[in-house]
């Protein structure tokens, strides 16, 4: 039997049961096979067995790729109007043509191209708004959890205040007053959606802060900032990722709702929410006009949620019941 490569203990750990060789005699597992698998290998195995994570991650990667390569993938300009070709039916109807695989909208714009470019808006808004709220919420939450006492009380107060403000209404009101551009929508959503980051980061930091290695870091004279960044943060990062996916999905849904109500991304930009709003009047005869962007929105949000659930299950399996 050839010598196993250096990384073998990690990988060879699966077949612990005695295996039979060609002669039929039972072989006792070698030491390398009994050794505990490395954390990395365990993680890889959990990922491989988790369908939600694989599907969610796969769909999200696909949509990200579509957004990145939009100029090469889109068959037409998403803003090009062609009034002689209005509401061309998609390919699965008898009248559909491959020139416009998903048909055209009421201005004769190619629906597939709009859908492709729309993924950029959803992803950009979801990601940027999530980043802003991550910064605000994590700062507040970690500070509250680590320092406790008055800081905790103050942060709790701010969280309660934020929670009592109706998000959709405040976002709509502010956007209508300041004016709506992509970046204003991003900032407004980012400033409104940090509450879950703060709540979760606060409670996880509270759990971590009384552990021995924090006391050890304090004893060796680490600065508070250093303890927060290099001792606390890595140990709450998996919770952070889970909340980040949830909030990204939330931001995407909210942007779509704002655009649907006419106070988010402005026409003629191909936002999925806006596409649904524009198609609303044609719902009776051409329901596919709202079906297509809605399905895309649903798939994106679902993929992000599945990814978040998967990350939670894989990194903290003991929390699963």
């Amino acid at each position: 039997m050839a010598l196993p490569p250096a990384s073998a203990p990690a990988r060879a750990a699966t077949p612990i049961a005695p295996t039979a060789d060609a002669t039929g005699a039972a072989k006792i597992p070698s030491l390398a096979q009994v050794v505990e698998p490395s954390p990395g290998a365990l993680l890889r195995r959990r990922i491989r067995g988790h369908w939600g994570l694989i599907i969610g991650g796969g769909v999200l990667l696909f949509i990200i790729a579509v957004a990145l390569f939009a100029p090469w993938l889109a068959p037409h300009d998403p803003l090009d109007q062609d009034l002689t070709n209005r509401v061309v039916l998609p390919i699965w109807y008898d009248e559909g043509t491959w020139v416009h695989p998903l048909g055209t909208d009421q201005f004769g714009r190619d629906y597939l191209s709009r859908l492709i470019y729309g993924s950029r808006i959803s992803l950009l808004i979801g990601f940027a708004a999530m980043l802003i709220s991550l910064l605000i919420g994590t700062t507040l939450g970690v500070a509250a959890g680590y320092f406790g006492g008055r800081v905790d009380m103050a942060v709790n107060f701010i969280i309660t205040t934020r929670l009592s403000l109706p998000v959709v209404l405040v976002a709509l009101a502010v956007v209508s007053l300041i004016g709506n551009s992509l970046w204003i929508v991003i900032c407004v959503l980012g400033l409104l959606l940090w509450d879950r980051f703060a709540v979760v980061m606060r409670s996880t930091t509270q759990q971590v802060r009384n552990l021995d290695y924090i006391a050890a870091a304090q004893a060796t004279g680490c600065s508070t900032l250093r303890i927060l960044l290099s001792e606390i943060m890595p140990n709450i990062a998996n919770h952070l990722i889970v909340v980040a996916t949830l909030e990204m999905a939330h931001a995407i849904l909210l942007e779509a709702a704002l655009s649907f109500l006419g106070l988010g991304v402005q026409p003629p930009a191909p936002s999925w929410g806006l596409m649904i709003a524009e198609a609303k009047g044609y719902m009776f005869f051409d329901p596919w006009l709202i079906g297509i962007p809605g399905t895309a929105l649903f798939a994106l949000v679902m993929a992000i949620n599945l990814l978040g659930d998967g990350v939670r299950d894989v990194t903290a399996p003991e929390g699963r019941n």
Partner: protein, 305 residues
């Protein structure tokens, strides 16, 4: 209990005052309100006029003081667009939204609590997986899109339910479903987790060992304790739903406070906008306060902690 209640009440009032400041400054500091009201074609004279009529020429603190003074005496402001008191219009519309919210919450609870209980009774079986997938799908459905799908099938294709208005209880069916389903995943997961925790506790084992019927153990002993956190979540979600009803009310043209908010935003009716935000926020604060009190009443550990 009394000290606990007073403490919480104090915090609630402080939050309400802070919210009123935030609301006020949101509306007043996001650009010049007079200019926003006057529109693009207005002359300088128009803008000055508006500033004087609305009182925007006064210092911001004085404006806030005047507004808060009015709010405390029940005067939420004057809507120049509708030429009436804001409070009259709001309290006229509030019952519709409350009905919608209550129906939506009822739908959510009726769907999610049994599902959560079933999932906890048979963990990791088909029922559990089904409940979980309903939760996952529910969280990803955009509510306005879901509402449009409901309208298309139930209103247009099958003609089972009316699409707009509030004439009969049938009008509330689709909006309640569209508004309420978003709450179901959270409630279901909490019910399931709570039931699983309670079912593994000692008193359930005792009850089973005594030979009580399984159903009686499940509902009389387990559910009663598992439901406590669900009650406070439901209260909080009710508050969120009132805020979220703006989308649903706009789609179904229901004359509630959410539709009013949307109309006011379209018209640039600042007094109405800030009053609605304040009323909804205060309602939410009241709900969470009541939920806290209920929890403390049911679970003495919270009172002491």
């Amino acid at each position: 209990m009394l000290i606990f209640a007073l403490k919480r009440l104090g915090i609630a009032i402080l939050v309400a005052i802070t919210v009123s400041m935030v609301t006020f400054s949101l509306i007043h500091l996001s650009g010049d309100p007079a200019m926003a009201l006057a529109g693009e074609s207005a002359t300088q004279e128009d803008i000055e006029n508006i500033r004087r009529v609305y009182g925007f020429d006064r210092p911001i603190v004085v404006q806030y003081g005047a507004w808060l003074g009015g709010v405390l005496t029940g005067d939420l402001g004057y809507s120049h667009y509708l030429a009436t008191d804001v409070s009259t219009v709001i309290f006229d519309r509030l019952p519709t939204t409350m009905t919608l919210g209550a129906c939506a919450l009822l739908f959510a609870l009726v769907l999610s609590i049994p599902l959560g209980v079933l999932a906890a009774m048979r963990p990791n079986t088909m029922i559990d997986r089904l409940a979980l997938s309903i939760a996952v799908v529910g969280q990803a459905l955009p509510s306005f899109w879901f509402a449009l799908i409901l309208i298309f099938w139930f209103g247009i294709v099958w003609r089972l339910l009316p699409i707009t208005g509030t004439e009969s209880w049938l009008n509330y069916v689709m909006p309640s479903v569209a508004l309420g389903y978003y709450v179901t995943p959270g409630v279901m997961r909490l019910t399931r987790a709570g039931m699983l925790e309670v079912l593994s506790s000692d008193y359930i084992r005792t009850a089973r060992a005594k030979g009580l019927r399984p159903m009686s153990v499940m509902f009389k002993h387990a559910l009663r304790n598992a439901i406590i956190p669900v009650v406070s979540l439901a209260a909080v979600q009710f508050g969120f739903m009132l805020g979220g009803s703006i989308v649903i009310e706009t789609i179904f043209a229901i004359n509630g406070i959410g539709f009013l908010a949307w109309e006011s935003i379209q018209r640039g009716d600042l007094a109405m906008m800030q009053a609605i935000v304040l009323v909804l926020a205060c309602f939410y604060i009241m709900l969470t306060f009541l939920a806290d009190m209920l929890n403390a009443f049911l679970d003495p550990r919270i009172r002491v902690g």
